[in-house]
Subunit: 378 residues, 4 copies
Amino acid sequence: MHSFRNDYMEGAHPFVLERIVQTNNEQYIGYTEDNLCKKGRSAIRSAIVRSDNKGTLRSAGIIPAALQVEFVAGGTMANLVSIAASLRPHECAIAAPDAHINVHETGAIEACGHKVLVTDDADGMLSVAGIDAVMKEHEYGRSFHMVKPRLLYVSFATETGLVLSLSELTALRSYATSKDLLLFIDGARLAVGLTSKDCDVTLADICAAADIFTIGGTKNGALFGEAIVVRNPDIQRDFRYIMKQKGAVMAKGRLLGAQFDALFSATGAQAGVEEAFEDEPLYLSLGRHSNAMAARLKEVLKRHGFDSFISDSPTNQQFLLLENHVAQDFMHAFDADEISRPDSEHTVVRMTCSWATTQEDIDQVDAMFSQAEANVEA
Amino acid sequence: MHSFRNDYMEGAHPFVLERIVQTNNEQYIGYTEDNLCKKGRSAIRSAIVRSDNKGTLRSAGIIPAALQVEFVAGGTMANLVSIAASLRPHECAIAAPDAHINVHETGAIEACGHKVLVTDDADGMLSVAGIDAVMKEHEYGRSFHMVKPRLLYVSFATETGLVLSLSELTALRSYATSKDLLLFIDGARLAVGLTSKDCDVTLADICAAADIFTIGGTKNGALFGEAIVVRNPDIQRDFRYIMKQKGAVMAKGRLLGAQFDALFSATGAQAGVEEAFEDEPLYLSLGRHSNAMAARLKEVLKRHGFDSFISDSPTNQQFLLLENHVAQDFMHAFDADEISRPDSEHTVVRMTCSWATTQEDIDQVDAMFSQAEANVEA
Amino acid sequence: MHSFRNDYMEGAHPFVLERIVQTNNEQYIGYTEDNLCKKGRSAIRSAIVRSDNKGTLRSAGIIPAALQVEFVAGGTMANLVSIAASLRPHECAIAAPDAHINVHETGAIEACGHKVLVTDDADGMLSVAGIDAVMKEHEYGRSFHMVKPRLLYVSFATETGLVLSLSELTALRSYATSKDLLLFIDGARLAVGLTSKDCDVTLADICAAADIFTIGGTKNGALFGEAIVVRNPDIQRDFRYIMKQKGAVMAKGRLLGAQFDALFSATGAQAGVEEAFEDEPLYLSLGRHSNAMAARLKEVLKRHGFDSFISDSPTNQQFLLLENHVAQDFMHAFDADEISRPDSEHTVVRMTCSWATTQEDIDQVDAMFSQAEANVEA
Amino acid sequence: MHSFRNDYMEGAHPFVLERIVQTNNEQYIGYTEDNLCKKGRSAIRSAIVRSDNKGTLRSAGIIPAALQVEFVAGGTMANLVSIAASLRPHECAIAAPDAHINVHETGAIEACGHKVLVTDDADGMLSVAGIDAVMKEHEYGRSFHMVKPRLLYVSFATETGLVLSLSELTALRSYATSKDLLLFIDGARLAVGLTSKDCDVTLADICAAADIFTIGGTKNGALFGEAIVVRNPDIQRDFRYIMKQKGAVMAKGRLLGAQFDALFSATGAQAGVEEAFEDEPLYLSLGRHSNAMAARLKEVLKRHGFDSFISDSPTNQQFLLLENHVAQDFMHAFDADEISRPDSEHTVVRMTCSWATTQEDIDQVDAMFSQAEANVEA
């Protein structure tokens, strides 16, 4: 039985793994200064440019060659390096309460010396209104007795599977610019965000909006690894020193370069992803596949009476609010993940689809429900 | 006109200043290893023992000689040193949202690497219920993905002038013990807390409850300086190294020793404090005086129609919620302090009495109101 | 032409890579809590026990099951996590000047808040005499004005390819114990150290001596990854929290588990390593191979007149002191690595053999020299 | 008997203390934003300008009003705040091995995350040659694997009482400028440095050379306190946030303002210092006095056969190399300070004169020697 616990339970998509295997015996210099990394960087820059169908980058004067692209092994590492490189000691991040950096990174940002201020936004959907309330409190004091807000952190897609619209994203950017704030977009689940139903944001839009953002590989078909795209030249300065100091520069960076080259220079169609859209990079197609599976799973769940979703997630994570005993059975049956207990009688359960989830896996869920229903009737 | 802006607007109480002047030409060794510091430490330990009218320390097996007493120049320093010495990198503090360490120390705790988790308690009144909700969230996960709660921070009196009762304090201690948490009491305004109306907590109770606590001098008659009392032997270990590393060990520690000796070895009566109670130390009498002045001020304010206090503070700080234009006039007249703007039409204004506030200062406030009222009638 | 620049230029040994490929489509839970990690941990513990031919572990009362084994992506990460978990804020490491943490990790240890004190030992060979001089300086002051030495850092093999003898290692342990110091052994190149000519130290000896040590995979046949073995229970406490906070817990820990299982549960013979000794684990055989290649290379170099080795390295790294212009030619010919310029006329050049270096590669070097000599004669 | 242990054994010079006493009952706002601080800042700026007899500031385009002047309680605090505000995480300080920040601040700089690289300069006399060797090592690598040198730290006078000449200082500045390094001058003993025999450096020269420097009060007549002068606008930015975060902003900043106003707005002659030179500020006269006493003491020591000074210190600290048993007697007789034990048979002993040392104190030393000599002869 397929496990729906999370989207990093398998290794790499075969197309990606193949690149690692193919290049295994080749010799490359270390620390992401090799040719595979060069290709990976180039592929990402190209994909960003190709996605600029609205001309946003051009009108913003963003030159692809000036984007710094770095590779690190994991998501917490990507976040802490990016934020440590962006802030002076007294500066802090603003995030929604659910933000990964606020809850699930064991205080990694604080360990770099920086406070994380939270807004009152739900579901990780950082909003201008939420930020503005925090800013007002600090501007009112406008004084050295309080930390200085300097960086906005928002996940795309969010921790509960939602996705900012282009207008929301643009509003964050405008607000950030007006207040001299940096915008950091955590793209651990960027692929499912960008390919979600009704999403009007492109990779180019992300790049134009963010001073710095990440492109998550671990949860989207890579064996492991995240790319960091640094657009803001001030953050680029000596960025690799900060990486090295935090243990984030891989000796065999080639592994990361090879994977991101595979994910961004090949199309999803070339790699055999059924849902692939036009000539989009494999990276996006894998997200699209995950979302498609999740949509079907959602339909199956609803059809069998499970419709208490805590958010209308258009992405690969679906969250159900269940009575505790139902949740137990549910998690046992599908290896779903327990997320929280909002009150003493209920459990929030997560089912996640990945690039590796198949139509057969969904059908099996459907079948199990039908069988159970038949048993009950009998 | 006397300013009611805060309780650190004057220098030292004359009795305290005199000690510094008297000893000025004497030579003492440095770094709080001198005889004046020895006397100051001894005076504090004695005062703690003398205040143990319920035998709490004895029954808890706390030996005064085993208490480590240190002196530092200021409150933020006292807090950051105490907390840095108490926590390992992944451990964090729990505090009420208003807590000084959470709002007004420019992220000093985070700069030492530690997250500050907040409860939903109002007015700085950290409660077992508030803490327990935070603990449950972290115990539920009980995992290395989240910071590990390790230290409770509570101010006595709180940032908005309130005071924990003995039963509340005891409950915090019991809870802390049951969950292997440390209890840190920020006593920046300890004197006004302990001598407030209806307070049933003694210095000994504070010492018995806290693993580590501070005794604020800056806001209570000292020229400057705070004492830190470390009861927990685990925190005592190498505590002075941490102090030195943070720049907290004064070369002329004698200044701090002399002041705390004056504040704790003399009685308030000896130093001429009118409100002095029995043979309590000068330190407490000064707090008692500040509270008495604030009570009279409150009465005057009420008599003249200002009764929108945001909390029923029994201590030296009084907070009024006023319409903005009234607040402006008010602050202009009495040099009161603007604290916050809860909404667009109101301002919270603080009036603070100190050891230096006199009955005449209060009378003058009264007279100004009466004059203003007469003007209005005329 | 094979590059001799370093020992992390290739991917993984085929036997190791195969494990990753084989398990790629299997689903495992995250964060090194999966069954592959369980197997990897178990394989390492077994190898430690099997290497205990002198009964050192047994007589020291070390129980294999009580060893904590963790996996991280890289060497700097392994070092900084291990040291951050071992020290309180005022405590520091003592290391030789060449120590990797002192020179080539961009201040990673200082970024965790800790000073690195250096001895005057050459070639990374930390000695009791060297440590004792530093200790005396600090004991003399024995005071909170100076950092408190707490952890000894030594690499095995060292940064210049040398290897501590058992008596040197035992002396470090005894000294550490006598002074309440922790001993951390950086095993980034542990395999070549343990299998070097005349080495009388076993894996069990390393484990018995060190409070905590690492087993480097990146430079010895793994795709990437280092194991950390924590023997000291005080350092084990909450170790995974520290890892997570530093971004060191891989979401797909399975990759690390699978590799270390391959390296330690299979023998070198099973994996086809020619130099494999008895039934030693593949991990050691790969080091043995690297050393064998380096010994042959050294012979070739000497035969052709290159014998100005800066150290008598018995391991896979060989360092030559060459005149600048010779060095340039040399590095161009063999893709050797430039290490330093001790004076204006000389360059130190490094040639490194890895698990992937073959006899043919060495023969080719030989042939190139012969050809060059023939050209000169002609 | 007067103690010669150090220069912070007494309280404040009476003229300085008087200012604190006079203003004790006045009310001032907090956190160094009061009028006394304003006066103190202004007095320092004026003194800097008045000392610019060579027109250095004018020709460098340094506008006194643009100098930021801050006050903190102690020397370690001044150093750590200054350096924390100057560096990004991967940047480091270069200092001589004896540097206070390297040896006697319990790793305060490392606790802020920054490595301290040391030159091979003796006696704290940081030299261009010493720095350049360190720089070459790092430029050679010029890479993110090593920390990035960014700030030069030098004490004026040095830890062993020596003083940079103007040409040495200018050379440091030129070198710093050429390499984009910041120059931080630790002026904990600035007064004795500037007024030492043959010193050709003025306060204006210090200000023109340094990006940021401190003016030590604690060891030169203040009750306590150090001023920090920030000339470089990049370091000025948000400097007070960093101060607050480190606990360095005194609530009663007035105490520091009053003292530095006294030290810099009054002349030494007005305050009755016999050695006062022309209309120099009291601050300098106090240093001049300390130096004069030390010169006389040195003469007395030499006359009685003690002439093994380890450095030719022209300032208030004198260091003698003595046989251990002589050192013991010596320290017992004069309460001198034991500094180090360079070998098993010798001790370095320090005798320090301060603003409070009198001619009678020196005479008494002379008399004690004479008496002892008479006893020996008898």
